[in-house]
Symmetry: C2
């Protein structure tokens, strides 16, 4: 049986239409995991997506929706009839409602809560005590929880009955809800049946704090050797478990956000978002960049008189700005990664800046010489070569400093450097590049 990738299904599904498309989609449903159907639906224009949604089995709909990006999900939910929605929200569990609640009206959230079991409802309410960037909001409860005085034979009976995925341990929680430790299944199996579970070997470092930042929690999970870690509140009460799968989702979303942020986009952006909405969202970013472009133009405008006499300056000025921008973005990219991984702080930023400055001097001088030769030959003027060499060196060195300083300062003020770092950097390298090149040109090239 050949394994067909998601992209192959995307291809097949997009080549056909109407009933044929429904047939292909139903074939895909049989082979793919339910959550992969969400990704598949996202690859279709909105009208086709809505048509195929109707063919998704009712019991799979929640899982498909949860797997979609929130924009794409919103479009679907807006197009569902009230009875369809209500049917779907029946028997929702707490984790699914947490994921879906941002796309649902308050009335629908209340409806779902009213239909929930008491346990699920209190888990939902507990999650709402934590912010969107705190791990406590996203814990799950598909786990076996035992009181400290449970005997091993009773614990094994509980495990036998459990139908949770990734079940490799049991959690010990006392009657007041305090977390007391956890025991892995092999240890449980090896123990005497009459022994109390809290006398067994505890298999755990320290649990995660519910207030911990989601990304830091994901990193801890990645570096532990467990499939899940217990999460506790300030008073040491057990809140739930955070799984490696959750950590993976958090990691993926964090990276997607960083990648998309460079273009001023949101990680939830739908491929087939309505044209009007896409245009509106992107317009803001274009507007911000326009302001910085006008700042660069204004800098050039200071030297109109020089430019009209030495046109070569107008021809060469993009080279100066562009080399600064590229060199600066190399430093910026490295620093942003280090900040995101927690590997850069005020403690080591000075050593890093020194290193980046040395790298910039080497590359600045190297490329200044190359560019100077090309410019001098092109415009038959050694003076032009000298001016551009000086401007390139200065701009690359300034770019390196800016590439370190900008993200570190943004990070200190809790502004995400992945979003705005690159715009600010380019503004600096454009303005400094144009100003030094045209300024030096005015000093040394005017007849």
């Amino acid at each position: 049986m050949p394994q067909q990738e998601l992209s192959q299904w995307v291809e097949d599904l997009n080549r056909v239409h109407d009933e044929e498309q429904e047939r292909v989609f139903s074939e895909a449903s049989e082979v793919l995991e339910t959550s992969e159907l969400g990704l598949l639906l996202e690859s279709l224009p909105i009208d086709e997506r809505l048509a195929l949604w109707q063919t998704v089995a009712p019991e799979e709909r929640v899982e498909v929706l949860v797997a979609m990006r929130s924009d794409a999900r919103g479009v679907l939910i807006d197009n569902l009839s009230m009875p369809d929605l209500r049917a779907m929200l029946h028997g929702l569990d707490a984790e699914d409602l947490i994921e879906l609640s941002q796309s649902l009206s308050d009335k629908l959230v209340d409806f779902a809560l009213a239909k929930m079991s008491q346990d699920q409802k209190s888990w939902y309410e507990q999650s709402q005590q934590y912010d969107e960037d705190q791990i406590g909001r996203y814990v799950d409860h598909s786990l076996v929880m035992l009181t400290p005085n449970t005997r091993v034979f009773e614990a094994l009976r509980a495990v036998r009955r459990a139908e949770h995925p990734m079940l490799d341990r049991v959690y010990i929680v006392d009657k007041k809800g305090h977390y007391r430790g956890e025991v892995s299944l092999p240890v449980l199996l090896a123990a005497d049946g009459q022994v109390r579970v809290d006398s067994l070997e505890d298999d755990i470092a320290s649990p995660l704090k519910a207030e911990m930042d989601v990304y830091d929690a994901a990193e801890r999970l990645e570096h532990s050797d467990q499939a899940a870690m217990a999460v506790v509140d300030d008073a040491g009460r057990f809140v739930g478990r955070a799984t490696l799968r959750l950590a993976m989702e958090i990691t993926r979303e964090t990276y997607e956000a960083r990648l998309m942020a460079r273009a001023g986009l949101d990680e939830d952006t739908d491929l087939f978002a309505p044209v009007w909405l896409s245009a509106k969202r992107r317009a803001l970013w274009l507007g911000i960049n326009l302001l910085t472009a006008f700042l660069a133009s204004w800098t050039i405008g200071l030297f109109e008189a020089t430019l009209s006499q030495v046109v070569a300056l107008a021809v060469l000025m993009p080279v100066v700005a562009s080399m600064g921008g590229i060199a600066g973005s190399q430093t910026l990219t490295l620093i942003i990664r280090g900040l995101a991984m927690g590997q850069i702080t005020f403690g080591n930023v000075w050593s890093l800046a020194k290193k980046e400055l040395l790298v910039a001097c080497l590359n600045g001088v190297l490329w200044a010489v190359v560019i100077a030769i090309v410019a001098a030959v092109w415009f038959s003027s050694v003076a032009i070569g000298g001016v551009i060499a000086a401007a390139i060196t200065i701009n690359i060195v300034v770019a390196a400093i800016a590439g370190v300083v900008i993200p570190v300062i943004l990070d200190k003020y809790e502004i995400d450097p992945a979003l705005s770092g690159s715009v600010i950097l380019t503004t600096v390298t454009d303005v400094v590049g144009f100003f030094t090149f045209l300024g030096l040109g005015s000093l040394f090239l005017l007849g």
Copy 2:
């Protein structure tokens, strides 16, 4: 006990030196996971990193090294003495050797192999049959493997003895090595002790193929609800298991590679790489970008005569190029993400292009009007406003087309669009922007 994040340790460690630093590092070793020590060491300049390495407990050294990025690891290994290295390579397991082998000389790999158990050695050799981008290379063997005729009570005994992390199931493999299924621990516990394991409920969709691309395999794992999936070869023989932790590492590395690629950097780049090496690696990328910058300059050079008469064109031309570049990179970013997720193929690229084109027309016209008004007022010339409006609209529309076409074509020829897409796009938007703006200016603005 307050939970101290990695970044706090980085800060503390970088504020002190020598013996004080050793004290802080040893405190960190007690609290952090061993693999986090690797990240901590990377945050230090090379000399301090080497000094602290000497204080890492011998039994933890392999794990610390494995957790480091290959560049940083290479620096450490190059500075270790032969006896130290040999001591460390004693008792290495197959997976660690696979990770470390790229940083080790052939002689040292042979030494490690000679000291390995027969099992580990054959696993290592099996992994070498697969390419670096195939999941078969990275499977692990920390699992319980049983023949089909094993009785449940024997299976439970095997589980009891096992000391593997993330043990939530056993794998059934026949005497010829063919994969026959897997049974979760709760099912095993609920079964009668005398029953054969292959008669129990099989808990699995389909295993992964060893030749599968690592990134696709990571996505399958993310969407399954298991902590690990079995991996089989072409003939259906069991190769090992791929865990969710592996999937997470692959996902992180893939995203890091995409983020770093935009600046022409490698995901293994060490923060404190030697200056000379950093300069050399970055120089190539600067060189490539210089060529494209000169192409833009050459385009401008075609219009020297026009520029010397209408200096306003020189002042405004960066605005035209920059708006095209930003609009194009928004489309490019969205398309690269879709390609990476397998959500874009030749099947739906045409519908996407249509949508992006419409978005570009809307934003093109909007910003053309804004920029035209600013330019007309600034230079007191309605004609300049008209020329820049036309150039902006054309460039933003071309940028949208290029933003779709460039990555799709690169992807078809298996060139990573995350690496070169943005350079090619900027070249297109610069050249088209300068050419249309200066060309239209020559037609309509010359006296």
